[in-house]
């Protein structure tokens, strides 16, 4: 298996499995988006630019040696945190949420960056710690995770906040968090759930969760999305209604069809068979990530590949779980498919870094 493309004077670090599957997924995404946006060519052109740009970034970020990321991980985190603060001050407010920073040419959702920067930093912080991770390091790590979670959560953005939180926890867990600590805190969380419910969640978030538990609560309020999404998926049947022929999406019954609920559009138009093919691409990418993690050159690389790929899996997990009506609606895009700049780019960045971690071998040391 080649890990490099060799040219005459230089070689580039490259993983053809990930690169091809991600490119295919992105291109399929463009077609899905064309249908979900009811044939809005502008949306698709804009998205294609992001895809092209993203693939380039992925390729570029694959080139530096993992040590580059290890050394500069604290700097990345600092930059990401500063951008979060900048968002807090200069951010653009949409629908009562301040998540976006206008960079002139691009509106950046800064939490998408911290979603990448945090796990890399934690990997670089924990890669040389003894097993199991001591209580002091555990608490330091948890403190940082909670601080960053709070930054994202307060925008407010519960969905991304949870992903960021999980990203941190994945690294801590993979790095060797002690089982004793895990069991103790699990018990603690169970006991403190009522407290979180009452003081941490916004009323609309509580409503969403309540509606999720009992959808007959209000069919045209919060549950409208889920009802319409289920109708879209269910009416697709085994082989779907055909490309561009999904009535749920085309007649606007399906809300957020271009972003959160694009899975339902695909299910409606391509049916269960289409969904199986789509998901197999994601499974292939995840399996490839396990393989790469197993073969990574050192603990830092392993942790980073593991953490970043799990963020990818979690995002997909929340998105599909929400669209098929198993998890509450929190607002989560489908990686590489949903419309959107920052979240799309964040996954190209993540996979660029994953490829870097996987393809660079250390010459010395064993």
């Amino acid at each position: 298996m080649k890990k490099k493309l060799e040219f005459k004077n230089f070689s580039i670090y490259f993983d053809q499995y990930l690169f091809i599957s991600i490119t295919l997924l992105s291109v399929m995404g463009l077609f899905f988006l064309y249908s979900a946006s009811q044939g809005n060519l502008n949306t698709v052109i804009k998205q294609s630019i992001y895809v092209g740009f993203g693939l380039a970034i992925m390729l570029i970020l694959s080139q530096p040696d993992p040590d580059f990321y290890k050394i500069f991980s604290s700097l990345f985190l600092l930059i990401a945190i500063s951008l979060m603060f900048a968002t807090m001050i200069f951010g653009k407010e949409i629908n009562g949420a301040k998540r976006w920073l206008n960079l002139g040419f691009f509106t950046l959702q800064t939490s998408e960056l911290i979603k990448i920067a945090l796990p890399i930093f934690l990997a670089s912080y924990l890669y040389n710690k003894k097993l199991p991770i001591s209580l002091r390091h555990t608490l330091q790590t948890l403190l940082l995770i909670c601080f960053i979670f709070y930054l994202v959560y307060s925008q407010p953005d519960l969905g991304t906040g949870l992903v960021v939180f999980m990203a941190g926890i994945y690294i801590l867990f993979l790095a060797g968090l002690s089982w004793k600590f895990i069991l103790t805190s699990f018990g603690f969380i169970v006991l403190s759930t009522p407290f979180i419910w009452n003081s941490f969640l916004e009323p609309f978030q509580r409503q969403r969760i309540l509606t999720f538990i009992n959808p007959s609560n209000d069919p045209y309020g919060s549950a409208w999305n889920i009802t319409q999404s289920k109708i879209a998926i269910g009416s697709g049947g085994m082989s779907g209604k055909g490309y561009l022929d999904g009535s749920q999406a085309n007649l606007n019954f399906l809300p957020e069809a271009e972003t959160d609920f694009i899975f339902a559009v695909i299910a409606e138009e391509f049916g269960f068979l289409g969904i199986c093919i789509l998901l197999s691409f994601f499974f292939f990418i995840l399996l490839r990530c396990i393989y790469l993690a197993f073969n990574a050159r050192d603990r830092f690389c392993r942790l980073t590949i593991g953490g970043l790929s799990l963020i990818f899996a979690s995002t997909l997990f929340i998105n599909i779980g929400m669209v098929v009506g198993i998890m509450p609606v929190v607002g989560m895009p489908m990686p590489f498919i949903s419309k959107g700049g920052s979240s799309l780019l964040s996954f190209y960045i993540a996979f660029g870094i994953i490829i870097s971690m996987a393809t660079h071998k250390k010459l010395m040391q064993k």
Binding site: A175, K230, I233, G237
Partner: protein, 612 residues
């Protein structure tokens, strides 16, 4: 740096933990895939239906109501088109400039402009039509049609109004249409398995239902069936493509047995006096004339009437809304005498030769109470024939006195008294055929012999509607055979009955007819003034309904100062004799003389029917 052993342990721990997390995700995604499978495959039908329901909207299409004809095929009630100017707001970019262009051709008043501006956005967003101006004149239509190429998003469409060509002649017979209550509408639509939804109206007034008369009794036939248009809609409810159109089935036309010309004669004869006229074709029981006066214009009720005009009608002392023909209760008075005479013959109480001496009164043996005739001094020697011609009360008092009340009531009921005699009349009253039980229950008094005596001259508690009197008249004419009355002749639905009698022969019937002819033709007949009004023979029996009991003519002169105290004039008649085709009844409230006031109306109606 960590040593090799540590490295190995770390690597193993990492792998185990990564596998744990991945195992969790594999499990979750498998579950999601299963979930998608159950939505798409197991529950497919349910969600497919839901998706179709989502994207389709059904709109009802109103049917056109049936036309109502008279018996010679002339239209009584029709649907009259009015022309409305309609626009498609979703196609119009700038409504202000559109309206200013349009108002160069068609004058729009400020109400119409305001209405358009208020509703424009809403109609545009739902892709619905908007009526700009109702009831265009011919000139406006012509002006618009010539320039219609300049207004591709406006068009003229027809909307109907229900219009009675003779609005005051048939106020009660045909009745009128009006708005529908929610319950009625739900009921009408559920007969067609439809829900109450948006509707494309053919009538300017929207949903309507027959409220009274034939419009009401035949509403089911006249109404027709709603059609249905199915549109594709988006989530906002905007109409997109028309997918299916099940055309409405227009209502059935109703061919009545009414005769416009005769109805008009009756109306003119009544001249707005309070009363009723009913005429019947004897062979079929078909109602040819059905009039209650004073009347009102059904068109103004159906198509909008000012509330002051409506209140004036409601408060009018002459009660124009009251249908006297089938709901007014009047004592039959002397018109009952032929039936009492028949009862006497049937029960062998009298025969045609039986004679009494009429001194002008009858004294009830039980209490010596005096029952007077209409003529002081009486009529001398009286048999049944003369008793009918001169309308001797004494003869019938004494005949009734000898009758068994239960037998008498039973006999009268065979002539339709106390019963519904019409198949398709709107809300007919049954009148009152009193029984001893009725009297004790309602008046708390036992039945006196005097009550039976009063029944013999059609006074007292007995009451009947003009419709029942006409039915009674037709049975007399038809020698005991009866046809249920109706506005629409349907052989199969008609109940024909025949009064079974043991002791009454055809000859008896002929003699009775002869007596009733005598009422007009005899020089001593109570309606002899009618002789000159016709060219054929008519059988009749007049009556005068006493409202206030008076002892002498002088007393009556005093009480008649108040018009409401005056006697009702009443007559039943049939002709041409000897083979009568039509039977008629006329009641004129406070008209005083059955023969000379109600009589001419009856003859005019018969003339109109027979002379043709």
């Amino acid at each position: 740096m960590i040593d090799l052993d540590e490295r190995y342990k770390e690597k193993k721990s990492f792998f185990n933990r990564l596998i744990i997390v991945y195992a969790f995700f594999s499990f979750a995604f498998t579950f999601f895939l299963y979930r998608t499978y159950s939505l798409q495959v197991s529950e497919y039908t349910e969600y497919e239906t839901a998706a179709i329901e989502n994207k389709t909207k059904e709109v009802l299409v109103q049917p056109i109501r049936g036309i109502i004809y008279d018996r010679s095929g002339k239209i009584i009630v029709n649907n009259v088109p009015t022309y409305d100017l309609i626009i498609k707001p979703s196609q119009i970019k700038n409504i202000d400039s559109f309206l200013s262009d349009l108002s160069l051709i068609i004058n729009l008043n400020s109400n119409e402009l305001d209405y358009v501006k208020e509703n424009f956005d809403l109609k545009a967003s739902y892709n619905r039509e908007l009526v700009v101006k109702k009831n265009l004149s011919e000139i406006e239509i012509a002006k618009f049609e010539v320039r219609s190429y300049r207004f591709p998003n406006a068009f003229i469409d027809v909307r109907y109004s229900r219009y009675n060509n003779y609005p005051k002649l048939f106020s009660h017979a045909i009745g009128y249409v009006g708005g529908v209550s929610n319950d009625e509408l739900t009921n009408i639509l559920s007969n067609q398995n439809l829900q109450q939804i948006e509707t494309i109206f053919k009538y300017s007034n929207g949903f309507q239902i027959g409220k009274t008369g034939i419009e009401s009794t035949y509403d089911n036939l006249l109404r027709g069936k709603f059609g249905k248009k199915t549109y594709e809609v988006d989530a906002r409810g905007r109409l997109l493509d028309e997918m299916q159109f099940i055309k409405p089935i227009d209502g059935k036309n109703i061919f009545t047995t009414l005769d416009i010309d005769t109805q008009k004669v009756a109306y003119d004869q009544m001249d707005n006096r309070r009363g009723a006229v009913v005429a019947i074709e004897i062979d079929t029981g078909s109602i040819v004339t059905y009039l209650s006066t004073p009347s009102f214009s059904t068109n103004s009720i159906s198509n909008g009437i000012s509330s002051s005009a409506f209140n004036a009608l409601i408060k009018d002392n002459n009660k124009p809304f009251f249908d006297r023909a089938s709901q007014g209760r009047y004592s039959p008075a002397s018109t009952i005498k032929p039936a009492i005479g028949l009862f006497g013959l049937e029960n062998n109480i009298i025969d045609w030769n039986f004679t009494i001496d009429d001194p002008g009164y009858f004294i009830l043996p039980e209490d010596q109470r005096v029952y007077r005739g209409w003529r002081e001094g009486g009529h001398g020697k009286v048999n049944l024939n003369k008793a009918i011609i001169v309308s001797s009360n004494t003869f019938f008092f004494s005949l009734a006195y000898q009758s068994d009340i239960y037998k008498l009531i039973d006999y009268l009921s065979k002539f339709g008294f106390g019963a519904n005699v019409c198949v398709d009349c709107f809300n007919p009253d049954k009148g009152l055929l009193p029984t001893p039980e009725w009297k004790i229950n309602n008046l708390n008094f036992g039945w006196f012999k005097g009550d039976t005596v009063n029944l013999g001259v059609g006074q007292g508690y007995l009451s009947a509607t003009p419709l029942q009197l006409a039915y009674y008249s037709s049975i007399l004419a038809n020698m005991g055979k009866s046809n249920e009355l109706s506005f629409v002749y349907d052989k199969n639905e008609k109940k024909k009955t025949y009064i079974q009698s043991e002791n009454i022969s055809n000859l008896d019937w002929k003699k009775l007819h002869h007596s009733m002819i005598g009422v007009i033709e005899s020089p001593i007949g109570t309606a002899k003034r009618l002789q000159e009004l016709k060219t054929y023979t008519v059988a009749a029996k007049s009556g005068t309904v006493e409202l206030v009991s008076t002892e002498t003519k002088e007393d009556y002169k005093i009480i008649r100062e108040n018009e409401g105290n005056r006697d009702h004039a009443i007559i039943i008649a049939f002709g041409p004799m000897p083979n009568p085709k039509y039977a008629v009844s006329v009641v004129i409230e406070n008209g005083e003389s059955g023969g000379s006031v109600a009589g001419p109306v009856a003859i005019a109606v018969l003339n109109s029917l027979i002379d043709r």
